[in-house]
Symmetry: D2
Subunit: 147 residues, 4 copies
């Protein structure tokens, strides 16, 4: 189990009715999307540009591995806290961790580890994570960032 | 990398236009759905009932962990082979493995390991995987099934 | 064009990154989902029960016709106002109208008219919209409700 | 009700498990996606280019109005016939019609009318539907095309 208190950033998302499947609970693929929303909000909060143009011209970040543990289902109309942090930056890759928690009951819904690689969009080869990205994340995550 | 030749079952799926995201490639959450389609087709092929009624009254199967490696993106209008197998049955859980491959180029798109637990729907406690399920899967997977 | 000032209820929704398609704009099917979110929020606001149990045992409400006009695309990260009202209650059916507007620019994204029928879940035949539903909606919409 | 026999093109789609909602039937937004799949298949069949590049450089086709009548729900694992035709080409717009039918029972699921406008991608102003598009569609639809 991940430790919630090392996460410095939390965003929220509401479960929408059409995300609930035939077992009366949120379909599992939606949790992946919720974690992705958390990562985008995290990057926005650090003022790291993630719009369409910058992705296609400067550098491209791709998800290469996703691990998700499902602990308890989320239900219709619940509000979920998405705790998000970058736990590690390596040479050309970095790691996002996430915890999904139901807001009122503090029930843990799922945990996620998502591995990303930094690519040169011209040749799709991996390239070093930029110094500006390293600096911004380090300043935010401080001693919790493995680098 | 998983070995394709130990998979005895393969289904197919076509990439639909609305599954393609702003980077021109299939959005990552869709691969999870494709693997799920593969698992459902696998169970149907073994005549294991998966309809709504049986899920709610006899026993409930829940996904507890999903691992996915993204190797190459799939694109609009491609047909994908979904290789699916049950690799292991434990006491109250079992493991699905999957490979997603583009049909023409044989390009590997993604690999998946999905862990499922067998629950008693009345109390949501784990229960032993039924003997009939074990027998059907064993007869199909033979020596490749870890049991 | 619908008149915004006869709508007494407005909810909000944020465009999520995975709802944006290969043309850089929200895929058209998502607008239908946004309007549906607006309708659910509307019913919740009027304390009309819409949970799974009540739908299946007392009466079933089904969507029979959906009309949507697309005026301007919504984009990633925009917040949308969803104006929602019930414009008319007939014998066994009722009509929802909706306007989707970008919060800051007040740009109109889309308009929706959604026709619903009230069914008896035992035989799937239409039945009269209940008096309690009529009363609650009339008290809220007042003279703007055609009845 | 639309007449099935004036449709010259039919494609098929299988209902996927995750498209089924909490009422045990296909969620209404998916029918829109199915009709869209039908339109794409129709255009591909007529060798009309619809890939990403051509959309962005030559001309842009946008959906401006969608009408859908829901007749009977589709269910998990059903195969659906999607009858698709272009019924009318005006100056800068054209109209697609669609019928969604369950393959075995011939049960009509839904009907769709989708209005599209032809835009100049440089200024987003409507432009005349090209002569080559008119010719190709006219040759295929013959006397059923209103022009």
């Amino acid at each position: 189990m991940m430790e919630k208190n090392i996460f410095k950033f939390c965003s929220q998302i509401g479960v929408r009715n059409y995300e609930v499947d035939w077992q009366g609970i949120v379909h599992n693929a939606n949790y992946l999307l919720y974690f992705e929303v958390g990562r985008i909000e995290y990057l926005k909060n650090l003022k790291i540009q993630i719009d369409l143009k910058s992705i296609q011209t400067n550098s491209k970040i791709v998800l290469v591995r996703n691990e998700i543990n499902h602990l308890m289902p989320a239900k219709f109309d619940e509000t979920l806290n998405i705790y998000t942090r970058i736990s590690e930056i390596r040479n050309s890759s970095f790691v996002f961790e996430g915890i999904l928690e139901e807001k009122n009951s503090k029930r843990i819904i799922a945990e996620n580890v998502a591995y990303h690689v930094w690519l040169n969009p011209k040749n799709n080869k991996s390239k070093r994570v930029s110094n500006s990205f390293r600096k911004i994340v380090k300043e935010f995550e401080k001693e919790n960032l493995k680098i």
